[in-house]
């Protein structure tokens, strides 16, 4: 028994220097999780009745303008772009009517909640980067202009505007 104890002690003494040669350091791994972006159409862009031969314009600040509500991380820049139609197509037919979007056809609001009044105008043909508000919301409003030809076939004309948002 005594011999065994002596042998164990010897091993401990020999192993000690190897442990002294190890050196460690800690590295921090970090990440900041942000809320995923979502966007919903709150209101369609509605030109209402258009008389043949008339050009009708809806401003983004008008109540009839389209309204997209973006939800994401608070006070975070968001890239906004549109896929815009060049024409509207008659429902149940093939006739078209041109639609145009100019330098002030869209606006954005980071008010809480986002509102048309006082929103900042921008050109929907050009992508922009703009921040969300303190609760992560951003309102995007869009107007435009349609021109009915003198011989425009009567009916309801539709098109589709797609908004693209990304951090």
């Amino acid at each position: 028994m005594r011999k065994l104890l002596v042998a164990t002690g010897l091993v401990a003494v020999l192993a000690a220097p190897a442990a002294l040669h190890a050196q460690s350091a800690n590295m921090t791994v970090s990440a900041d999780v942000q809320t995923a972006l979502s966007v919903n159409a709150q209101n369609n862009l509605n030109f209402g009745a258009v008389v043949p031969g008339q050009t009708k314009t809806i401003l983004p600040t008008d109540a009839a303008s389209g309204f997209f509500l973006v939800d994401g991380a608070a006070t975070t820049p968001v890239n906004v772009s549109f896929t815009l139609p060049a024409t509207l197509t008659r429902q149940g037919g093939a006739e078209t009517m041109p639609i145009t979007f100019g330098a002030t056809s869209a606006s954005r609001s980071a008010a809480n909640p986002p509102v048309r009044a006082g929103s900042t105008l921008f050109n929907p043909n050009t992508p922009i980067t703009t921040p969300t508000n303190a609760v992560g919301q951003l309102g995007v409003f869009i107007g435009g202009a349609v021109t009915a030809a003198a011989n425009q076939v009567a009916g309801t004309y539709n098109g589709q505007i797609t908004i693209n948002v990304a951090y």
């Binding site: 040669h21 050196q23 900041d32």
Partner: protein, 162 residues
């Protein structure tokens, strides 16, 4: 006569050898210093985020200092989760792949030899007794991952291999 001529030669040799003596002072313990954490920055719920070990701005960086040309064994203790501190504690999955770590004797992020951080590696330090380890990884946030800052710790241990 011949003995008298050999003595000056011995003195000259001693002078030449003397300057190399400081290099024989080998550190008993390799030095390890983390100079940059592994920072994923902003990540989006439900969207996996990867940091490449060659990403100089985000990859973790560890400097090793020991004897010139020494071989050292590099081991990493890797977490599987990041944690969000606070009352509503949450975790975020962290994964490491077979080539998510790299070693550079040149200490350059662009000149790395990849290795598996889960297995560690034996690295040979450069002439100045230095080398750098880089670390990347992948985060896998859940679709409803609670937003906020998350953190974890990686422990790096270095020992002489010889």
């Amino acid at each position: 006569m011949s003995t008298a001529r050999s003595l000056p030669l011995a003195v000259v040799a001693g002078v030449l050898v003397a300057p190399t003596l400081p290099a024989q002072r080998v550190p008993t313990t390799p030095g390890v210093q983390v100079t940059q954490g592994l920072d994923f920055g902003p990540v989006i719920q439900g969207v996996p985020a990867r940091v490449d070990r060659q990403d100089g701005a985000r990859a973790g960086r560890v400097e090793i200092v020991a004897a010139a040309r020494a071989r050292v064994f590099v081991q990493l203790v890797l977490p599987g989760l990041l944690e969000r501190p606070g009352t509503a504690r949450s975790t975020l999955a962290l994964e490491f792949g077979a080539a998510d770590a790299g070693y550079s004797a040149q200490q350059q992020v662009s000149q790395q030899t990849p290795f598996d951080p889960r297995a560690g590696t034996i690295a040979t330090l450069n002439e100045a007794g230095r080398g750098t380890v880089f670390l990347g990884g992948t985060l896998v946030p859940a679709p409803r991952q609670p937003p906020g800052p998350y953190q974890a710790i990686v422990t790096i241990t270095v020992t002489y291999a010889d």
